[in-house]
């Protein structure tokens, strides 16, 4: 059995671990495994208004500094 000759083991183990743990995992992680397109929640898209739609506290006449 030439497999039991330990003189080549270091090279083989080094090459295989580099290949398996670095090269192969990099290759697989570069795949773009995208999800299927799905509907988006419309509620997330809040329209942005340049004006305020309600009176905030600081604009309320009652909260203004009273004389």
């Amino acid at each position: 059995m030439p497999q039991l000759d330990t003189s080549t083991w270091f090279t083989t183990v080094l090459a295989s671990s580099i290949t398996l743990f670095i090269l192969m995992q990099l290759k697989i992680s570069f795949h773009d495994l995208h999800k299927k397109p799905s509907n988006k929640y419309l509620k997330l898209f809040k329209p942005t208004n340049p004006w305020e739609q309600k009176w905030t506290k600081i604009y309320s006449p009652l909260s203004l500094p009273q004389p």
Binding site: P2, Q3, T12, V13, S16, M24, H31
Partner: protein, 226 residues
């Protein structure tokens, strides 16, 4: 003849330089990946395969075990592609090397066992003693279970080595017999040739099954420990 039979398992060298590094690094090199949304057939097949493996292997795991999915997917694809490339004529199969299989088996096994001892100390220690053991047998059984724990990666590596080596040897032997028989009697040679073809088909199946079995056992050790 004996030397000739095993000569295909000697680590190849070219002018004294070990070219096994290049041979081992070959499967990842041909497996290219692209970032495009619509890919060609090869990339689509790879993505389908990765998704299939992840779905099949990772369904049983806890969220902590699922962090290993990249590792296990790369393991099965690497072993499978190496085995399949090794079936081409005049090639060297790195998976026939015991050293390489030990190098692939020990780190994941050790990682799983250390993970188990780190996070699930009681459960991992409970594996050393089956439930309902008679008290006089306890020291004996703990020793046996400890040995069986440490023999797991050896069994993993030797299984892969033995399967691939045996397949290659059988194909070598029957191929040689067919070649000799063609000059003696053609009908007998035809029978051997058919057997050779069937064996080759079996070897293709074995190449994939052994990759699957290796990964499944690593996944099982992980499942026991997370």
């Amino acid at each position: 003849m004996n030397e000739n039979l095993f000569s295909s398992f000697i680590t190849p060298t070219l002018m004294g330089l070990p070219i096994i590094i290049l041979i081992i690094m070959f499967p990842p090199v041909i497996m290219t990946s692209s970032k495009r949304l619509v890919n060609n057939r090869f990339h689509t097949f790879q993505q389908w395969l990765i998704k299939l493996i992840t779905k099949q292997m990772m369904a049983i795991h806890s969220p902590k075990g699922r962090t290993w999915s990249l590792m296990l997917a790369s393991l099965i694809i690497f072993i499978g592609s190496t085995n399949l490339l090794g079936l081409l004529p005049h090639t060297f199969t790195p998976t026939t090397q015991l050293s390489m299989n030990l190098g692939m088996a020990i780190p994941p096994w050790a990682g799983a066992v250390i993970l188990g001892f780190r996070h699930k100390m009681k459960d991992s220690l409970a594996h050393f003693l089956p439930q309902g053991t008679p008290i006089p047998l306890i020291p004996m059984l703990v020793i046996i279970e400890t040995i069986s724990l440490f023999i797991q990666p050896m069994a993993l590596a030797v299984r892969l080595t033995a399967n691939i080596t045996a397949g290659h040897l059988l194909m070598h032997l029957i191929g040689g017999a067919t070649l000799v028989l063609t000059s003696i009697s053609l009908p007998t040679a035809m029978i051997t040739f058919i057997i050779l073809i069937m064996l080759t088909i079996l070897e293709f199946a074995v190449a994939l099954i052994q990759a699957y079995v290796f990964t499944l056992l690593v996944s099982l050790y992980l499942h026991d420990n997370t």
